[in-house]
């Protein structure tokens, strides 16, 4: 069997004695959407930030396409085909929508010092293609800070796609979006995974989206994996129900 796209092996992260993630493992295959859910403070974002190399696990290792990336700096991931978005938007606010996209392609343009951005026909076409896909083409000359929240979220996703990722890490992409925008995100992410074969790790609280698009759902609570499986399996899992609704809810459920 070939190497998984992402292989997280037994990572443990603690912040000064507080264990945020404990002996956690997960695998993500090419073209699969893998959701990471759990109550607030369960360790989802910590795990996510370890994979994208912003945090360093004390134990365990992280492998991408069969290569150990545990000690790479965060900026080395883009050229290995890994892109991410942020829970609280991180756009280049003072730059235009187009330049945000060009910067997404930064790692791929190594060695093209001056034939870059607007000056390269190919880069321009690629950027416009992405902006059309995310519905931002008419805003291409606007400043990122001037877009409304939903479009800013889309721009961050478009910038991540400009990396030409094989692994896409999304931290709460649906948070704060309206229903119509979530539908659009649903369709777009499904297409990115199914058609383009990109593996997606999704940290998300919007269950409607998680249940609709995920192939695998991993549930974390208190830094540990408590369940993993298809959306249907996970939703019926007693430990998950307990984590979300509390002991009483679980009792109630089994009594009913």
């Amino acid at each position: 069997m070939s190497e998984p796209l992402l292989d997280v092996r037994n990572i443990t992260v603690s912040f000064g004695g507080l264990v945020a993630v404990s002996d956690f493992s997960m695998k993500v295959e090419k073209g699969a959407i893998h959701a990471l859910i759990g109550p607030n403070g369960a360790g989802k974002s910590t795990t996510f930030n370890c994979i994208s190399r912003f945090y360093q696990p004390q134990l365990g290792s992280i492998w991408i396409e069969g290569r150990d990336v545990t000690h790479l700096p965060p900026h080395a991931l883009a050229e290995r085909g890994v892109a991410r978005t942020f829970q609280n938007l991180e756009l280049f606010n003072g730059l235009s929508v187009l330049e945000n996209i060009y910067l997404g392609a930064y790692a791929g343009a190594k060695g093209r010092l001056f034939r870059w951005g607007d000056r390269s026909q190919e880069a321009r076409e690629f950027a416009c293609h992405l902006l059309e896909r995310t519905g931002l083409i008419e805003y291409r000359h606007a400043l990122a800070s001037g877009l409304d929240f939903g479009r800013q979220k889309m721009l961050e996703l478009a910038r991540a796609l400009a990396v030409r990722p094989r692994l896409l890490l999304l931290d709460e992409p649906a948070a704060g979006l309206r229903n119509r925008e979530i539908d659009r995100l649903d369709a777009l992410l499904t297409e990115i995974a199914r058609r383009d074969g990109v593996g997606i790790v999704l940290v998300e609280h919007v269950m409607r989206l998680v249940m609709s698009i995920s192939d695998v759902v991993t549930v974390l609570n208190f830094g540990q994996k408590i369940a993993e499986g298809s959306p249907g399996q996970v939703a019926r899992h007693p430990a998950v129900i307990e984590a979300y609704l509390g002991r009483e809810g679980a009792d109630h459920d089994s009594a009913a």
């Binding site: 965060p74 280049f92 910067l103 930064y106 343009a109 001056f114 000056r119």
Partner: protein, 316 residues
Amino acid sequence: MSRTFVARAALGLLAVGMLCLPAFVTGYVVYIANITLVYIVLALGMHILTGEAGQFALSHAASYGIGIYTAAILNKFAWGVFPLPILAGGLVAGVLGLLIGLVALRMRDIYLALATFAFGQAMQWVFLNWKSVTGGPNGTEIHPTSLFGIEILNDKQAYLLVLALTAALVYATLLLSRSRLGSALRAVRESEVAALAVGVDVRGVKLVAFVLSGVYAGLAGGVFTLFSTFIGPDSLGFQTTIFVLTMVVVGGLGSVTGAISGAVIMSLSSEMLRSALSYQEIIYGALLMGFMMYASGGILDLARRLWRRGSLPANV
């Protein structure tokens, strides 16, 4: 007739005018042109670091001074051959920029401002006390640079060289701003975490910005020695750094044309205020604060806004 054509024609006219300037004006006016060109280079150096990369170094005058003294030392000996002293000034100041950058990587905002301020003060102390090189508080004479065996003795002789070097650096700055590296500098300014996420080596890019800023200031110092016969530590202190910062802010932080126009405005106003030396600092301070509070886009942006208000009253 397109706008680019008009702009190009205007630029061409400006170039011809600049080239012919020494034929029509006195040596004093050429001196002002020379020093203005030096200020443009200084402002470009600060533009790269502060305008593009969003970093601070309140040690700009120190890098400038290092460029001047390095070139002045070479001029004393047989090395004073154009463009060697200028390049050496840029090189030494660039190395110092690297050191400042390495320290700067460990701090940000107010701490960075304070650390680089301290570095600038320390360097001024060196300029004041290393008498064998700098002449101490009395300053020192700068020997002329030679070109093809001929010594460059006055402002008019130096002018074309100063103009050519400044033009080359303006062009280089424009190229940088449109390059992949220029984009990376702006990415670091806008969001360091997002820059990391798209693959920008934030530390490396910051270091490059500090080095380039130092190189520009050092080159400006070297260019200064082409037409000046004297340098003293008084003109290499914090007030000079603030002077350059005012140029970049008045012109409009983040654009090359802003840095250039700010340098021209500040240079000319400083020349006009020469008789009111004691009020200069107050006026610069007020300008800096006024622009930061009411016209953070700089003078060009302000003019554009006023122009629109004037021509389209119904729309405002």
